[in-house]
């Protein structure tokens, strides 16, 4: 009896075989540039948010491409890029066992505390 173990990466879902994510992860298609994920921090934001993905030959080109593709309308003041193959994602088939158990545990929300009168603006 043999099992096939598939390692899942971000972007694998919904991609056809040998689509962008496969090219990024299996390193066999050298004619295509790898896929990169782009994170942009906006002027107001403190955190980098996922903006999308793109192709580039290396990290320097990925940052330049991200500047041209994702900051054309003054969206950002800082860019992070990471090659997509380094992002590991949860398996959507396991969504039930991963997330549903939290459904009936409302006591985890911080809504059961009695706030003293003196504390305002909470």
């Amino acid at each position: 009896m043999s099992f096939q173990i598939n390692k899942l990466y971000y972007g694998d879902y919904g991609e056809s075989k040998n689509g962008a994510a496969d090219i990024s992860t299996n390193q066999t298609n050298t004619a295509e540039w790898p896929l990169w994920e782009v994170f942009i921090r906006s002027k107001q934001g403190l955190d980098h948010k996922h903006a999308g993905s793109l192709h580039a030959a290396d990290a320097a080109m990925a940052i330049e491409n991200a500047r041209d593709v994702y900051t054309r309308r003054m969206e950002g003041v800082s860019i992070w890029v990471v090659e997509s193959k380094y992002i590991h994602a949860s398996n959507p088939d396991e969504a039930g066992s991963l997330y549903d158990p939290a459904n009936d545990k409302a006591y985890r929300h911080p809504t059961f505390y009695h706030l003293p009168e003196e504390v305002k603006y909470m």
Binding site: A57, A60, E64, D68
Partner: protein, 263 residues
């Protein structure tokens, strides 16, 4: 008045450079080697069209303020008055355009396109840095805005010269072929046009800085400067290659066939 004519001619020279290189780069729109680079070069084209507009608008303003005695055309015809950015871009003929020849030669392959942009934008970066000291505050302001864009154009195009020059055997051969083809058009960059009389200009200093930068990048990329030194020149005085006419025919057709049409 001679000084004013010189300034207007110089503004048109800068505007024409930006318009024609912007048009050439825009020809890649939808044809880039990969989506991300297609967007990159189209952004650069838009930067240049923006610079062209700024210079044309300022030139038009000066022309309209001083129309008497100003004959800004090479062919002796007076410009259409009142001048606007559109009339200057769309209603002047080939001989009246003052752009450098390097801006009008065809794109060729990606190596030709990126090398031309590197050689031109590094020159413009040096030139515009001098223009920050221009006595006309508007020119200095346009230069300041453009320098931010040009710095990126230099960085982006320089990366490509390094990538292709220091890449595969074929990419190196293509970049070297681009250098052989374009080098003859670089001499004109440093010939100071007669109308470039602003006190802040020093073309010899531009050439020194440009040589230093280009030599360093070529050395890092393993490319070499051609030994032949023939210089193609005349664009700044309205003597163009056969290519400019085709660009203008395409660019100006609509305004000439249907004057003042808008959409």
């Amino acid at each position: 008045m001679a000084t004013m004519k010189n300034e207007i001619d110089f503004l048109l020279h800068l505007a024409d450079n930006a318009l024609i290189i912007g048009h050439r780069n825009s020809e890649w729109c939808g044809h880039g080697p990969i989506l991300e680079q297609d967007i990159a070069i189209t952004n650069i084209a838009l930067d240049y069209i923006g610079q062209a507009r700024n210079f044309y608008q300022h030139a038009a303003e000066l022309i309209n303020q001083h129309p008497i005695g100003i004959d800004i055309t090479q062919s002796g015809k007076d410009i259409v008055l009142p001048a606007t950015e559109d009339s200057l871009a769309y209603l002047r003929d080939v001989r009246e355009f003052k752009n450098l020849l390097i801006t009008e030669i065809p794109n060729g392959d990606w190596a030709h396109t990126t090398l031309r942009l590197f050689l031109l934008s590094e020159f413009e970066l040096q030139l515009f840095t001098q223009l920050l000291q221009h006595t006309d505050a508007q020119v200095a302001a346009i230069a300041e805005k453009s320098i931010k864009e040009l710095s990126y154009h230099v960085k982006w195009s320089q990366d490509w010269v390094l990538r292709l020059g220091d890449g595969t055997e074929e990419s190196k051969q293509r970049m070297q072929a681009a250098i052989e083809a374009i080098w003859a058009y670089t001499g004109e960059l440093f010939i100071q046009p007669e109308y470039a009389t602003a006190a802040c200009l020093n073309y010899a200093a531009i050439q020194t800085a440009w040589n230093k930068k280009v030599t360093a990048v070529f050395e890092e990329a393993g490319l070499h400067i051609p030994s032949k030194t023939f210089v193609q020149k005349g664009g700044a005085d309205g003597m163009h290659t056969e290519h400019l006419g085709y660009i203008l025919a395409e660019m100006q057709y609509l305004q000439r066939a249907y004057p003042n049409s808008e959409w």
